[in-house]
Each structure stands twice: as structure tokens, then as C-alpha cells.
Amino acid sequence: AMAGAVRAARPLLLLLLRRGLRGTAGPPSARQLREAEEAAPVFQYAGKAARRKDRVFVWGFSYSGALGVPSFVKPDVGWKKPRRIQPTPYRLETEEKISSAACGYGFTLLASNTTDITKVWGMGLNKDSQLGFQRSRRDQTKGYEYVLEPSPIPLPLEKPQQTRVLQVSCGRAHSLVLTDSEGVFTMGNNSYGQCGRKVVEDEIYSESHLIHQLNEFDSRVVQVVCGQDHSLFRTKKGAVYACGWGADGQTGLGHHNITSVPTKLHGDIAGVNIIQVSSYGDCCLAVSDEGEVFGWGNSEYLQLASITETTQVNVPRHLPFKIGKIKEAACGGTGNAVLTEEGNIFVWGYGILGKGPNLIETAVPEMIPPSLFGWSDFNSDIRVAHVRCGLSQFAALTNRGELFVWGKNLRGCLGTGRMEDQYFPWRVTVPGEVVDVACGVDHMVSIVKSF
């Protein structure tokens, strides 16, 4: 049997030798190329369960520290110059997944809905303790006035490992943190009662450890909004509470005085189920579940001129716009924008509204043509999903995850890469799908999912 096997093996060996000799001469034939291809190793870069990562991008004016990148203000290498403005989105490394962000006037708050002990990080101006007390490492008794890096804000929670932070909001010099079971925490400047506590004469706000907790509302608070020097709280039952400065009627309580305790608003929104409130300057808008919009506050820039000639409205009034069911509203410093159910944006007010340099002010909402957001016959299912306002900028998010900005380009806050004002919606190139954006006075923060 062994002899038979050897005899059979020999012709095979000869064949192999012959094939090998022929292969080395001349260019490789198509069959050999194909075989070489099939024998090549296969690399795997991403498995089936590869998940998309969450990222935070910042851009705008950086000297206040609001961007959270210390090397922009104090470069770590001697020959590098400090970067005053970051004109395009820059990735910010964060320890946790950020679920909510808010930009104030020179400072930023980032919040994550984890159950870890640190849930909120702040960076930027801290002259009024709007970021809480940040103990200075050089001198343990003093605090930082400018925070250049996202630093954790210690909240006086009763159950720090169970409570989750739902949302943050920032005003001119104060900030609000909304939790799911322990109410609202406020910190910062309280000279107009915007933190919801009694105004103390000659109180020094810098390096203050005081964080006030607000719990007395008719039901759980689901949204907090900061105006310039006032605060708005929306509860689950659809009621709106306000406190803070009222000289422009932005508290909506029927008077022009300061309110230091959150008080319920009446007027046209009494009994109406409000699903969203918005404010950034001195004008406020509220959207009801039926798609109606109500406004109060400053009207010097024709924001409420459709119903009244006065420049201040101190009671919420219904704005009778016939533009369809309204889903979301956003208030800027001088201009307002609303988003309808069909995905169209309507703007009114004063300033660069987004319809070219000729439209400077209007009291009646004007629609921005959807073709500016990428709508065309080729892709006809592009809709705007969210609209946000900064002090003199607007930002719109489409359902494809693209971010469009327009308005005054103050210190590069639009993120387009240019320093000029943008008179119609312009795409911001962000390497990822934008989930949320927060606009401030001179900087913006966006929460992005990678591809």
C-alpha cells in the first residue's frame, strides 16, 4: 500500500514543479491575479455593532474661556499665539456624553444625564458665580473668575447618585439647572431676583457658594429658560412661572417691577397647555399644544407689533398669525423665529432676518424659502426640525442633521469660517449629524453624533 501511494504522489509533484516554473516567467495572467486577490487578507475596520459616538463642537469667541479649550487663551507652547476667534467648529473632548448645552453671555454650561456625581460642567466667565464656586488651585480661599476648561459644578443634591440633570439654561449672568426629582437649581447674579430668591442689598456675587433650590411649583418643571435678566419655568401642567427683571414686561406678570419669587403667569395663557417657552433677550414667546403662539416682553423691535403699538407688553398676549400650526418658537435679542408643522421657518422682528439684506425689519412673520435649506426636486423630504436663536443669530437644524446659521457674525460665532454677516441661511460644515445646538452672544455649542 505504501509503495502504491508513493507512485501516485510522484506525478502530482512533477505537475506542481512545472506549474511553479511557468508562473515565474512573464506578466501574471488574469487567473493568477484573481487567485492572488482571493488570497489577500481581509481587514475589518468596523464591526456590525459599531456605534456612533457623541461629540461636542464649539466655535466663536474664545478669550472669555467659553469655548472650553484653554490652549486658545493660554497656549501650552511658547511660540503659539492665543486664538481669539475659532471660526469653524472645533471638537471639545468631554468625559461623558453631553445631553444638554446652553450658552450664556460669555459662558457655557454642559450637562449630562448620568447618575454619576458630576453632572454639570461650566466654562467661561464666572464673575457672578454663574458657574458656581470654582476653587482656585493657587489660593484655596479664592475662586476663579474665568474658567478656561469644562469644570464640574457641585450641585447640593440630596440624592446625587439617583437624580438626573435634564436641562441647563444660561442668561446674562445667571444659570439654571433642571433636575428630574429635585426641582431647579439657580446660581449667579440675583440683583433682579432672577435666581428666584430674595434680593439682598449690596450682595457680592463673585466667589459665592450660594446655589438656590426652587421647588414650589404646581407640578414638576419640565423646561427652564433664561432671558437676559429673568427666568421662565414651564411646568408639566402647561403653566409658566417667571421671576426676575420686569422693566420691559418680560416677566409677564402685569407689572414692570422686579419679582424675586417664581410667580405663575396669567393673561392669554391662563388655562392653556403650553408646550414650549423661549427667550434670550427681553422678549418671550410661548407655544401651546394647539400650535398657537403667545408673546410678551419687549416690543421695541416690532416683535409684538402685530397686536399692539406699545413697546412693552407685560401680560402674555396671543399672536394671531395665520401661518399654520406652530411647533417651536425661538426668541433672539431683536428678532424672533417660529417653526411650523410643515417644517418651514417664519421670522419677524428687526435685524438680519435671513431673507437677504433688504429685509431688515418686519412685524408680520415672513417665511424663509425651503430651497435655502437644501430642499429641491432632487430631495424633497428635507424639513427643518428645530430652530434656535442667539442674541442676533439664528440657527436651524434639518431632519438630515445639517446645521444652517444666519445673522450677525459677531466675533465669528456663526461658524461659517468667514467674518462677514450672513444674510441668508448658510450651511455649517460639521463632521457628523448635528443633534442639538445652543447659541450664545458670540459663541455656539453643538451636540453632534458621529457618522
Partner: protein, 260 residues
Amino acid sequence: LNAAPRRPPRQQVRFLPTPAPDGGGAVELVPTRVPVLADHPLVRGPQYRRLKIGAGHRLDVKSSGVFVLGIGHGNKLLTDLYNCHLTKVYTVSGLFGKATDDFSDTGKLIEKTTFDHITREKLERIVAVIQGTNHKALLMYSNIDMKTQEAYELAVKGLIRPMEKSPPIITAIRCVHFALPEFQLEIQCLHETQQYLRKMVHEMGLELKSSAVCTQVRRTRDGVFTLDDALPRTQWDLRSIQDAIRNCRLKVKTELEKTL
């Protein structure tokens, strides 16, 4: 072409001596129309000895599709059409899992990767991003001042386009077919080359954390000329060419008048 009936010869009026109608030796000069001898076919020879044919936008060896040619006077229209900067539409087919050096499937293999994690949704997301950045490039290279009202109005209508030389810009792109490992895209672009489209397919593969090669590039529209106007190989004869030229003449004229 030379067998077609020629232009009738030019006529001229000459005074020819003809004998007087009433006989006799007197000769009268009578004007008659007489063909010019210089136009006689035997003197002139064949009417067409050479034809000037010019090519429109380039199409390289590995691609197929609509290829515009201009004959004779049409060459002058070709330059005008080029200055119109109209878009071209391509159908590009690709294959996931391979990467080659010249981005097509006949090149030298560089790398093989897995591709089962790719879904149509991920591809559409990348496609949307490409469209977004190219739309921005479109507005930037058109060299219009963004602060003017006319820029805004043109942007609303979608008519902003670079009117001079610019890098390749894709105006619209969408996925028409997706069956792993192959996929097909319809790309509408300006100022591009086919190799750029192949490179785009390769880069899309990289973005999806895999690799891709381009198997086919086919131009389905070049400005005003679509697949219906194009003549396939079986119809490359005089009659069909003449009919095709006649059919397209009106379209080309309206397009040129609209743009210039």
C-alpha cells in the same frame, strides 16, 4: 455625404451672342442665365473633402455614455456651450470591499475590507454630507458677493453657479440602488472628470470604514443632450446623424439664448 445632391451651381447673367431670330448674319446680345463654369462638378470635384469635428466634454477610456461632437460650424457652438457651465449627470456603480490604486476594479488590488456593517441608511447619510459640502462650494466659487439682494434671490431659486473655471463640484447626488456589495449612485456635477468620480466612490468607501471601487461610470446627460438624443453604435450613419443634428438645433439655441 458626397453622394447627396449638391448645391445647385451659381447662375450668372451673361450677354451671349445669339443669332437674331429673323435669320441673317447680324448677331444680337441677349441676356441669358448661364451656369458658371467654375461651379461645375467636374471642375470643382467632391464637395466635402475634410470635415471638422470637435469634441465636447471629455469622456475617458473606461467610461461610457453621451459624448457631444460638433461638426463644421457646430464647433463654434461648442465653446459657447462650454461657457454655459451646464451640469452633467452620471450613473456611477460601485463595489464595496476592495480598494485599488486607480479606484476602478481593473486596477492593482491594495486592500480588502469587510463591508457587512454598511447599510443603506449610512450610505445616504454620507451622500447627504457630500451634497451639503458641495452645495457650499457651489455658492463659494460662484464669486458673487453674498451680501447683495440678488445673491439671495439667486440662492433661493438655486441658480447660483460658478461661471468660470472651478474645481469639480457635485450639485446633486443620490443612491438609486443598494444591494451589498454593489451600489449605484446618480451624480449631477460640474467641471468634473471621470477619475474624480471614481475617487469620490473610493472616499465614500473610506468614510463608511470600509473600501469601495468604481465599476462603471456612464454619462446620462451632458447639458441639454440626453440619452434619447444620443446615437448608439448601430446608428452611426449619415441619415441618423443629420436627423439628430436637426432635432437638437432648437434645444441648443434656446439654451444658449437663455444663458448668454
